[in-house]
């Protein structure tokens, strides 16, 4: 039902509400996780933009992939992504999620995150500092407000493509309905 998106005014209100209050699930895959506490606490305080941490994927809208991704964590990441609900966005930190970064030739890391999960935005920096993260997230909020952040839609449309890539790396992946 929710894939034939009607660009009605109601949807705009929802996008506006979505960008004003984002629940962020930071999946600490790599070294970027350490950057998030400072962004949340007093000095940089990301909560003033309405972005707060969420305990479970059910309540989360935003999935932060902070750093390099080993194949083992990819499987968990995929389960978490699928447990999140429709207007959901993925943000990759650092170059490791773009092209493998300094682990470009290691046998057990994922070189390109975009092949497995629809990524909205990458934040550059071999682990971006809090200011960079905030700037990125503000950019994301603007994209959501304009309705451009439709990563979950892309995932839905070419599900086959994503599933093949995932199974190519992980072999068999548990699918929920």
């Amino acid at each position: 039902m929710n894939n034939n998106f009607v660009k009605g005014s109601w949807q705009e209100i929802l996008d506006w509400a979505q960008n004003k209050s984002i629940n962020m699930l930071h999946y600490c895959t790599g070294c970027g996780a350490i950057e998030l506490p400072p962004t949340m606490t007093s000095r940089y305080d990301m909560s003033r933009f309405g972005i707060g941490p969420a305990a479970t994927p059910r309540q989360a809208d935003l999935l932060l992939v902070t750093g390099y991704l080993s194949t083992k964590t990819l499987r968990r990441l995929i389960y978490t992504y699928e447990q999140m609900q429709a207007p959901k966005f993925v943000v990759g930190f650092g170059s490791c999620t773009i092209n493998g970064g300094m682990y470009w030739d290691s046998y057990n890391t994922i070189k390109q995150l975009d092949k497995y999960l629809p990524v909205e935005m990458y934040i550059a920096g071999c682990m971006p500092r809090p200011e960079a993260i905030l700037d990125g997230l503000l950019k994301l909020k603007k994209m959501i407000a304009d309705g451009e952040a439709d990563g979950y839609q892309r995932y839905q449309d070419n599900l086959e493509y994503y599933h093949q890539n995932q199974e190519a790396v992980l072999g068999e992946v548990q699918r929920t309905q």
């Binding site: 389960y79 447990q83 309905q177």
Partner: protein, 621 residues
């Protein structure tokens, strides 16, 4: 005319025994028919409080007369027995398919019904004692027909306790018989009032002993857990629904008809209440607290519900013991409500045991998906037990609270509050471990219970909600009882009861609650339709779980809370009685080894020794 209410069930019992030998279901059908007949004829009896029946017998030189009479109190108990026995009989028609002792069950069950109606109509000590013994014996056989090893021990402990108490009762009754020349209650009451207070209080306490045992009040409640926990699954509802109440009936008889309150009027009083009845109330309070704490710890659901019966009986005892009109009607209300919702819980659990075969909570889970009706019955019953407003449980507890607050008994109130709040805990535990949570693989293909077992549960749900919204129905019989026992009545309308400092209007609350529910429903359906997801697809920090077993939180559900009471529960009362019997055995063994060691020469010596001793004794005197 009254005797046919007693002897028809007993006669039918033998027929049921024989027929059941051939066809498994016959016994339960006969029980259902007999209790249906009883219920109809008893309800027809309503209002005619003047029927009495007596026949006397000069037995071995003693002129004894057996009196039977109807009064509102006994009518209520008789109707309750008949009602609950129909439901249980209907339930057990096909829940006893693979039950080895089903013919023994029906035989004893019918005799118990007959003897209970006999107890309730009895107006003198001897009839009461005869039917009491009959009930105790048949329930002994019934309990020991339960779970293999433990049921035997439980029944054994039960029979010794109640037999000891019954013999004490007999002694006191005969003592009164010698003083007054007859066993009747009224002549005994006159004698007791005229008699010296100390002796008559002693007599009345001894007479109330079997009732204290049967009502499972604090010091003598040790048999209740094992008996209810291990009795056959169809008998536990009757055991905890009705059998505990007969103890209460006895207490009411002792308190009011044998004028226990009149006698202790002038003894020292605490806040306007004679100390002795305050002591009874305190016993009730202690029963609530111990029952609740031990209920929370149990892993076996039937034992948990058994302990909850003990603690709920504590409320009734408090209500009666504080001897105020509100208190009395509150406890009578709670008595009826407890019977209704406790038997619903036990029937629901019996349905679960019928399907899964185990009573351990952590071996089950997620049964709501397979047995929705049983879940609905259990849910309504625990809402009533926890005393949540739209159901009848709240009303009786609220009236008891009104009674306590009106007279300002702080410690009793604290025990009552503790009992009812903690009841949320032990009531929710079976709900979440048995019905909610993960559905175990071995229970995948469980079906709902057959129709005949559904009907009693459905009827009981309707009764809970009906009495929840219209308590007036119960109140008019309770007021007749208070009138009969000489207590002022509480004014009430069909759907509201006037408490000491605040009225209660159940219809209004029901309307508002449903209004609130509708608003929430509208809000819920307004939002997007949600997608159904399987039970195994839950957040487990990324890991995908495959076996339900490791993902069901059920074992030691309230471990932090139990940790606070570990030492209290450890030294439970049962060890006290165990050591008592152990010394008894050791003393017997010691005597045997000392005297009857089998050496012949000692025996010969004893006879000469006896002669010498007695001669010396004779010579001195």
């Amino acid at each position: 005319m009254l005797t046919n209410y007693i002897f028809i069930p007993i006669a039918a019992a033998f027929i049921a025994y024989i027929l059941n030998k051939r066809n498994r279901k016959a016994g339960a059908v006969i029980t259902a028919l007999v209790s249906a007949y009883l219920l109809l004829s008893l309800t027809a009896l309503y209002g005619r409080w003047d029927i009495t029946q007596s026949f006397n017998l000069s037995l071995m030189g003693y002129k004894i007369d057996f009196l039977l009479a109807v009064n509102p109190l006994s009518w209520l108990f008789a109707v309750m027995t008949a009602a609950i026995s129909i439901l249980i009989a209907l339930f057990s028609i096909n829940s006893q398919e693979n039950f080895k002792f089903s013919s023994v069950f029906n035989l004893n069950f019918l005799i118990i019904i007959g003897s209970m109606i006999g107890i309730v109509f009895a107006r003198d000590f001897l009839t009461l004692f005869i039917f009491w013994e009959l009930m105790t014996w048949t329930s002994f056989y019934l309990i020991s027909a339960g779970k293999k090893k433990m049921a035997g021990r439980a029944a054994y402990r039960y029979i010794i306790l109640s037999a000891g108490a019954a013999y004490a009762f007999l002694m006191a009754a005969i003592f009164i018989f010698q003083q007054t020349g007859s066993f009747a209650f009224d002549s005994a009451a006159e004698f007791l009032v005229a008699n010296s207070p100390a002796q008559s209080i002693m007599l009345l306490l001894v007479i109330s002993l079997p009732f204290i045992v049967k009502a499972g009040i604090f010091p003598l409640h040790i048999w209740v857990k094992d008996a209810h926990g291990n009795a056959p699954k169809e008998f536990s509802p009757f055991l905890s629904g009705m059998m505990l109440k007969i103890g209460i009936y006895g207490m009411i008889v002792v308190f009011y008809q044998l004028s226990f309150f009149k006698i202790i009027e002038n003894t020292i009083a605490y806040r306007g209440l004679p100390l002795l009845s305050y002591l009874f109330a305190l016993l009730g309070a202690v029963t609530i607290i111990t029952g609740t704490i031990l209920a929370i710890r149990q892993e076996d659901m039937k034992k948990l519900v058994a302990y909850s019966s003990i603690s709920q009986m504590g409320y009734i005892i408090i209500g009666i013991a504080i001897a105020t009109p509100l208190g009395f009607s509150g406890s009578m209300l709670h008595l009826m409500n407890h019977l209704i919702f406790k038997s619903t819980i036990f029937l629901a659990l019996a349905a679960v045991i019928y399907r899964t075969g185990t009573t351990k909570m952590y071996e089950m889970g997620g049964l709501i998906f397979r047995m929705p009706l049983t879940f609905a019955a259990y849910l309504t019953a625990i809402i009533a037990l926890a005393g949540i407003p739209p159901t009848n449980g709240f009303i009786s507890k609220w009236v008891i609270y009104q009674a306590l607050i009106e007279k300002g008994y702080l410690f009793l109130a604290i025990a009552a509050f503790f009992g009812s709040i903690a009841s949320f805990m032990y009531v929710f535990k079976p709900l979440s471990t048995v019905f909610l949570g993960q559905l175990k693989p071995q229970h995948q293909n469980i079906k709902e219970v057959p129709l005949l077992m559904k009907i009693p549960m459905l009827i009981l749900i309707l009764v809970i909600v009906l009495f929840g919204v219209f308590p007036g129905i119960q109140m008019n019989i309770i007021n007749q009882i208070s009138g009969y026992l000489g207590i002022e009545t509480v004014n009430y309308t069909l759907y509201s009861i006037q408490g000491a400092n605040g009225a209660w209007n159940s219809l209004l609350i029901f309307n508002i609650f449903s209004a609130g529910f509708i608003i929430a429903l509208l809000l819920f359906s307004f939002a997007k339709k949600s997608k159904l997801v399987g039970l195994l697809d839950t957040y487990s920090s990324g890991e995908y779980i495959t076996d339900a077993e490791s993902y069901h939180y059920a074992y030691q559900y309230y471990r932090p809370f139990d940790r606070l009471f570990d030492n209290l529960a450890a030294k439970s009362l049962t060890d006290f009685y165990e050591t008592l019997t152990k010394n008894l055995v050791r003393s017997g063994e010691g005597l045997r080894r000392a005297l009857a060691a089998g050496k012949l020469q000692n025996y010969a010596l004893y006879s000469v020794l006896l002669f010498v001793i007695l001669a010396a004794v004779g010579w001195i005197i």
